[in-house]
């Protein structure tokens, strides 16, 4: 989701630390600010001067460390910002996003991670399906029922399915479209529950394994429609094959393991050894032939599945041709073919839209989050799926100041004297004029209960080819404590009103002075001169006039003519890269505060020296990127 201008992103310091390594977690915790050796490869030697390095919002790596502030967490133990990469998650509960019912964790796997009730998604367009009755005329609710999509108007009648009752649709559908459990021959299979048959697939993917194939079953049907023991759906064939090979493995294994439990212990080294010896043992005896192992009976050789009721399916030679003919037929056409997206969650044999079966809704999860390095729990929502409350929620916004920006509307007096600026009274942030200075009010709001001293640092010229000049008029200031909630409640109605309504017309931004200050917030002025885009220089200067900024635009000096958006320009340097015109300002934020914290001062980086008593001096530093706007081209 891209944000509208202006925005503030925060760079998680983890981008500068080595990849989390459990064995080194202590170390990484103690020095999270340390620039890693891997990041700035060219400047490897300069690593000791890590703080000198300017964060480049356009660097490819930056994408992975910049987060909107509300996505970030804060670990009170590590005293560090935690981004989604610095945490581990644990599933608290599974629930269906449609009916919001919780699915017990014991059921999740057997249901294939999908809702077991009446929640289905349209196989054609993924919109939710609703259970509707057909006989709407008389208004009776007894008629046959169908699942219908309110969006693309797909119904189960499109695939020739209707239901007798409006409840337990998934069971009804399963009954219709999956093999009824087979009597006779495979006794083992009979003893297996339905869930066992499905489970192998649900382990690996979210494919609804209840859904059987379509085409594959058809030839079988033609062949021997009367033989009930032949598995006809893909899943049933898989189950039959599995059973068969389990039997084979059991029969060829000398030791008397319980064949039923074999499958569960495939991973144990013993079993693996036995499986391997199935092949090697016979070969060795064949090679040496001295029969010194004569004492043991030679196990029967394992064979492959050969018959249909063992799960073997031989496609008829004509089946592919039949599919091709069907594709080419008039009543199929392009619209009759299932798209790749549609097939992704269907049986592998589903080729046509008629083969698509409704998909039970995928479950979602509520998760708790832990710090990856210290394992402290950072987020723990309430278990109930419908609850939006948290038991624990350590979000970064409660610790780091929240930055908001808004353009400073120039006083009318100024604009009167400078007619060119009158139009800039409310600058359009989506089309900033190059080289025309704008002023922004940057407000930092403190959510901690201690007053904070903030130091902001920004490069005077933004990195990259589009060099914009940035000046923070007051880079160092204090923010009051978020002390009294009642204060805030009383003040919030009046204070920001005052600042937003009157101040722009009464004040002029001054260097070294804060613009405005409230109980727990402080506003400073940021002055930005948007740079010229490469290739646009001549055009831009025509309007504004030449100025000394020329020297900064070193890259674009040799460019001539207007920027070529058509991509015809051969010179890549002349073309503007995507989003290169976005005016992103890296700002280094350093906050210091005295915390009368109970936490052991030894812990964490920011602790430093205790300042007498239980008050601890802390500091936290991070890069922030302010997205001011887009430079007009």
């Amino acid at each position: 989701m891209s944000r509208p201008f202006p925005y503030a992103y925060i760079s998680c310091p983890c981008a500068n630390t080595p990849a989390p390594d459990p064995s080194r977690k202590r170390r990484s915790r103690e020095s999270p600010q340390k620039a890693s050796p891997e990041k700035p490869r060219p400047e490897l030697q300069l690593d000791d001067e890590e703080d000198e390095q300017t964060f480049d919002p356009r660097a490819p790596r930056s994408n992975f460390s910049l987060y909107p502030p509300e996505q970030l967490l804060y670990c009170e133990d590590c005293h560090q910002i935690k981004c989604p990469r610095c945490i581990t998650e644990e599933i608290l509960c599974w629930y269906c996003p449609n009916c919001l019912f919780e699915t017990p964790s014991s059921m999740v796997r057997s249901e294939g991670n999908r809702c077991a009730r009446n929640c289905f998604n349209c196989p054609a367009c993924t919109a939710p399906l609703s259970v509707t009755t057909l006989e709407n005329r008389g208004g009776d609710q007894s008629g046959p029922w169908v699942l219908s999509c309110g969006y693309c108007m797909w119904t189960t009648l499109d695939i020739g399915i209707k239901f007798d009752k409006p409840t337990n649709i998934r069971a009804q559908l399963a009954k219709m479209t999956t093999e009824p459990s087979m009597p006779a021959i495979h006794t083992r299979q009979v003893s297996k529950t339905f869930g066992d048959l499905k489970s192998p697939l649900s382990m690996y993917s979210s494919i609804d394994d209840q859904l059987p194939p379509v085409d594959g079953s058809r030839p079988d049907n033609e062949d021997q429609p009367s033989d009930t023991s032949i598995p006809r759906t893909r899943n049933a064939r898989f189950a039959a094959l599995k059973t068969f090979y389990k039997d084979q493995v059991a029969a060829t294994t000398t030791s008397g393991v319980d064949p039923g439990d074999f499958g569960a212990s495939f991973s144990s080294p013993n079993t693996l050894h036995r499986i391997m010896s199935i092949y090697t043992a016979t070969r060795i005896t064949a090679l040496y032939g001295n029969g010194n192992k004569k004492a043991r009976n030679r196990p029967p050789v394992m064979r492959e599945a050969v018959s249909a009721n063992e799960g073997l399916a031989l496609p008829k030679p004509s089946s592919e041709t039949a599919i091709i003919q069907r594709m080419a037929s008039d009543d199929c056409g392009w619209d009759g073919l299932a798209s790749l997206e549609q097939r992704a969650f269907q049986s592998p044999d589903a080729r046509f839209v008629e083969d698509l079966l409704p998909l039970p809704s995928l479950l979602r999860t509520k998760r708790s989050k832990r710090c990856k390095s210290c394992k402290h729990i950072l987020v723990k929502p309430e278990f109930k799926p419908s609850s939006t409350r948290y038991r624990i929620r350590l979000i970064a916004l409660s610790y780091i100041p929240l930055a908001t920006m808004r353009p400073l509307i120039l006083p009318p007096t100024t604009s009167a004297s400078l007619p060119s600026l009158s139009s800039a009274a409310a600058p359009n942030l989506d089309a900033l004029t190059p080289q025309r200075p704008i002023q922004l009010l940057l407000t930092l709001k403190n959510h901690m209960f201690d007053p904070v001293r903030i130091t902001l640092a920004t490069p005077s010229v933004t990195p990259g080819r589009v060099a914009s000049k940035v000046t923070i008029l007051c880079p160092q200031f204090d923010i009051g404590a978020n002390s009294d909630v009642w204060d805030e409640a009383l003040q919030s109605a009046t204070a920001p009103d005052r600042s937003s309504r009157t101040s722009p017309y009464e004040k002029v931004a001054e260097a070294g002075k804060v613009w405005d200050k409230g109980r727990n917030w402080t506003t400073v002025v940021l002055e930005v001169v948007p740079g010229s885009l490469p290739g646009l220089k001549l055009k831009a200067y025509k309007g504004v006039g030449d100025d000394d900024n020329d020297d900064d635009d070193d890259d674009s000096d040799e460019n001539e003519g207007a920027l070529d958006w058509s991509g015809k320009s051969k010179d890549p340097a002349q073309q503007i890269q995507p989003d290169e015109d976005v005016l992103d300002i890296p700002v280094f934020v350093r906050m210091e505060w005295n915390s009368d914290s109970q936490i052991d001062p030894e812990e964490g980086i920011g602790s430093g020296k205790g300042l007498g008593g239980d008050s601890v001096k802390r500091e936290l530093a991070y890069w922030m990127v302010l997205g001011v706007g887009r430079i007009e081209s």
């Binding site: 709407n136 499109d158 219709m176 839209v353």
Partner: protein
């Protein structure tokens, strides 16, 4: 805060005021011209519906036009069939100032119109002509909120144009089709009958699907039930054959009729006296 132009559906043959002005004058932002409107007495038209244009507008019986709908007949006559629902803030025709709906082809337009037999028997003459830029809505058409129908569009019966969909010039939409929300049909397209156009935006983002009208037998169910019919007895092929997809549409049209009945009360009531 109703708008000043409290337009009531005139009984019949409302004397046209500016019906003879030049059709091409729409391009130069003319004064809001009041088109001659022929509306069935059983049509329900909200007060705040905007009618502008020079060509006649015909509204069939039982049709509901929600408040804030805008109907422009600068480029050609607008014929709304029977039992349609035109939702709020949708735009039929090309508003003045955006240029008249420059139309080039009229593929199959006349023929479509002729087969529409009961389209407002009281057409004021110009309505049924073959002008380019005519908008033709057959019966039981639903136009969703904020949808826009450009001049020269023909929409056959039972079509649903959902919220904020855009139908560009000279599009022909076959009967019982559906244009899903926010889809944009590019100019000159032919949408066949029983087609659902869904997806995002226009062009490649759009997907198409043909609704099934006839009965279907599910191959899986069939293959499984060929022999073991007991498991799913009573599911298929009873009571004289399979259910046809068409009955879904019948049910929808019935629902639409009920909706119109409800709307006629609401919008009719809010107007005081129709």
């Amino acid at each position: 805060m109703p708008q000043p132009n409290l337009l009531r559906p005139p009984p019949h043959h409302r004397p046209s005021t500016q019906s003879n002005s030049q059709p091409s004058s729409g391009s130069s932002t003319p004064k809001p011209a009041q088109p001659p409107i022929t509306a069935s007495s059983s049509a329900t038209i909200a007060e705040s519906v905007v009618f502008q244009g020079t060509f006649p507008v015909t509204i069939g019986r039982g049709t509901i036009i929600h408040p804030r709908a805008r109907i422009y007949s600068f480029a050609g006559p607008v014929v709304i069939g029977n039992e349609c629902i035109i939702s709020e803030k949708c735009v039929l025709g090309t508003p003045p100032g955006e240029g008249t709906g420059t139309v080039v082809s009229t593929t199959g337009m006349a023929g479509d119109r002729n087969k529409e037999n009961q389209r407002g028997g009281q057409t004021t003459g110009g309505g049924g002509g073959g002008e380019e830029g005519a908008i033709q809505l057959s019966s039981s058409v639903t136009i969703g909120p904020m949808a826009s129908i450009a001049a020269g569009v023909t929409i056959h019966s039972g079509v649903v144009v959902e919220t904020a969909a855009a139908i560009n010039g000279n599009v022909d939409i076959g009967a019982h089709s559906k244009i899903c929300a926010r889809a944009e049909i590019s100019a000159g397209a032919m949408i066949r009958e029983w087609t659902v156009v869904w997806g995002a935006g226009k062009g490649a983002g759009l997907r198409r699907r043909v609704r099934v009208q006839g009965g279907k037998v599910n191959p899986i169910v069939q293959s499984l039930n060929g022999d073991t019919a007991a498991a799913t007895a009573g599911d298929k092929a009873e009571e004289g054959g399979t259910l046809e997809g068409r009955i879904i549409e019948d049910a929808r049209l019935l629902g639409m009729r009920r909706e119109r009945e409800a709307l006629a009360r609401f919008i009719g009531a809010s107007k005081g006296r129709r």
